[in-house]
Amino acid sequence: MFENLSQNIEQAFRNIRGKGKITEINVAETLKEIRRALIDADVNFKVAKEFTNKVKEEALGKNILIQVEPGQFLVKIVHEELTKLMGGSNTGLSIAKNPPTVILIAGLQGSGKTTFVGKLANHLKGKGKNPLLIACDVYRPAAIDQLTVLAEQVGVEIYKEPDNKNPLLIAQAGIQYAKKHGKDLVIVDTAGRLAVDEQMMNEISVLKESLKPTETLFVVDAMTGQDAVNTAKAFNDRLDFDGVVLTKLDGDTRGGAAISIRTVVDKPIKFISAGEKPEDLELFYPERMASRILGMGDVVTLVEKAQQQFDQQEAERLQRKIRKNELDFDDFLSQIQAIKKMGNIKDLIGMIPGMGKMVKDVDIDNDAFKHIEAIIRSMTKEERMKPQIIDGSRRKRIATGAGRSVREVNELIKQFDGMKKAMKRMNSMGAGGKVGRSMGALRRR
């Protein structure tokens, strides 16, 4: 197993000598390009800078095991990190234990709130809910009419009081109405407001405090520029909203605001509004969004292809080696040393495509190898080459020499045997597909 791993690494190093590691210098140009791409996509200037710096710091010194330039490799890492940043759990809508579920909608003027309310109602109706829309935009001319038309379009009821100028009273009465008429969910549409409009921000925080909504959603135009951070932060400070809705993504905007918002408020993006029809509502896919914001799709694809290729070679080589079943403790030791030279072990293994999946959820600390190494070093040459001669008294000696317990020595030898047996079994099955298992011997330490 490790023989193959280290051979691979050595091979890879031979192939790409000179650009095997990510360094400050060899990615400087790319870093600039990435930053510019992000800013052109409207990612906030500071956010873009801090994000790329962080990714670079973490990538520095990383080995590149495949045939690509360090810069290209960095692009791929950035893409992955962007995906990670925007992803995460908790993207569904919460539903109240005691109906009705109350969903409060907030956002700037013209961000697409009312249209989204129609879409959400349509979506939830399709999921068997019985939504009521409450019209609380008492300011914009014909806002209530607009919601009325949308309610009709999607076939849900609307609660409105055209002569009432108090959104809180309307909302409260609407919720009472919902309870009385068996509506299990209400969506409260509110007027657009600027984060600096103290009076209006007060109004919405009072709405939130009094209604205690199950979900408060912040609706934001995907075309928003650098200001997205300020607005999102201001709304979040006042409302502590639960999720973000990105609208107008059916256009050609790159949508960098998604990154900015996620960075400053760390709330999940729950829906994508992309179109003017009630059914134009989508769930959020972080990977797609990352590609859209970063662009550079060709580079990402190139690196992925190289990784796949590497995967294939790796698998073939692995199979050949295992078939011979030639592993001894000496090999084991040199492999460990080779690996140790490469820096962080989990990172390193994780960077080998295919391996990454295997070690992702497992704890490997760099010390895991220290004890193994000490034990093997205490073995004689003969013992290393013929593990079967290591009897009880030899074990005791080895343990003392290594400063480990006999139990640990026993365990290592057992694991080693187990690994060989597993390989043998696999050979007789004629499949190399399960090699990943033998890693368990080491990982469990």
Partner: protein, 324 residues
């Protein structure tokens, strides 16, 4: 509904809106040059941050910085305190290139056909929710207060309640209103609105259109058609195609400007929502890449929250020490 207008009736609004823009930029600039003995890489880096954080855009920012660098080299400036005036100068130049000297945008040009006065026709376009209808209401209000006869046409027959919205505005500011209801052919609405204006002798005709994303080919073609329909009834109309941009929009504003120009030969821009925290630096970027003047800025939701865009004042205000 009345308190919609009462809510923000104060006239200081205009200045307040602009104040925020200049304060943001200026205080950052002050910080950036503070305690620096010369215009070095650090100062330029800070300038870059100031400009980009204001949505000026990477290429325009780099262009401005290059010009400053060149000028610093040429004039051998050593003092960062001169940076203010250099930067102001450069930004001003970028904007001024595309703006006329006089700023009488609220004066209506006259048009005649066979010696008979014809209305000045304005078509308002833009993506969804930027503030087209509101801007029409504000413009109509301005011209109504000058005693002009204004007609607005409900060319957005698509978005729910769009016709009602414009009607409410028309009633409020005392403008005449022309509509064929929802779902009517917008080109027909535009045609008939202009015809109505010609026969009834209006001085200004403003035609609303449905918001549309510039990437939707079919809808952009529809817009070209709406525009052509007006020329059929009154040659030369519309005399102005006003593209409304939202100040909080980022770099997509440039794509918007390009696409709408292709479809309708945009002749002027209105920049709305400058009363928010968005810096409005997008104007500089758009002005630079897209050679059309910004004529109006929106600084609130009330009928008088509209101001003529004054490029000198706008740039000067960015550097106005009173802002701090």
């Amino acid at each position: 509904m009345l308190n919609f207008f009462k809510r923000k009736e104060n006239k200081d609004k205009l200045d307040q809106g602009l104040e925020k823009t200049k304060k943001g930029l200026f205080s950052k600039l002050k910080l950036s040059v503070l305690g620096r003995g010369s215009i070095d890489e650090d100062v330029l880096d800070d300038l870059e941050e100031v400009l980009i954080s204001s949505d000026v855009g990477v290429s325009t920012t780099l262009k401005i910085i290059k010009r400053i660098e060149a000028r610093v080299l040429r004039d051998k400036y050593t003092n960062a305190s001169e940076l203010d005036s250099i930067l102001k100068d450069e930004i001003q130049q970028v904007i001024l290139e595309n703006h006329p000297e006089s700023l009488d945008y609220f004066d209506i040009p006259t048009h005649e056909v066979d010696g008979k006065p014809m209305p000045h026709v304005i078509m308002v376009v833009g993506v969804n929710g930027v503030g087209k209808t509101t801007t029409i209401g504000k413009l109509a209000y301005r011209w109504r207060s000058q005693g002009k006869r204004v007609l607005v046409g409900a060319g957005d027959t698509f978005r729910a309640a769009a016709v009602d919205q414009l009607k409410l505005w028309a009633d409020r500011v005392g403008a005449d209103f022309y509509s064929k209801g929802m779902h009517a052919d917008p080109a027909a609405v535009a045609y008939e609105t202009v015809r109505e204006g010609v026969t009834k002798g209006h001085e200004v005709v403003i035609v609303d259109t449905a918001g549309r994303l510039q990437t939707k080919k079919g809808l952009m073609d529809e817009l070209s058609k709406i525009k052509r329909s007006m020329d059929k009834i009154l040659p030369g109309a519309p005399h102005e195609v006003l593209l409304v941009l939202d100040a909080s929009t980022g770099q997509n504003a440039i794509s918007q400007a390009q696409a709408f120009t292709e479809a309708t030969q945009v002749s002027a821009l209105a920049l709305t929502k400058l009363d928010g925290t968005a810096k409005g630096g997008v104007v500089i970027g758009v002005s630079d890449m897209f050679k059309v003047p910004v004529k109006f800025i929106g600084v609130g939701e009330g009928m008088d929250d509209l101001q003529v865009f004054d490029p000198r004042a706008f740039v000067a205000s960015m550097f106005d020490p009173i802002g701090t």
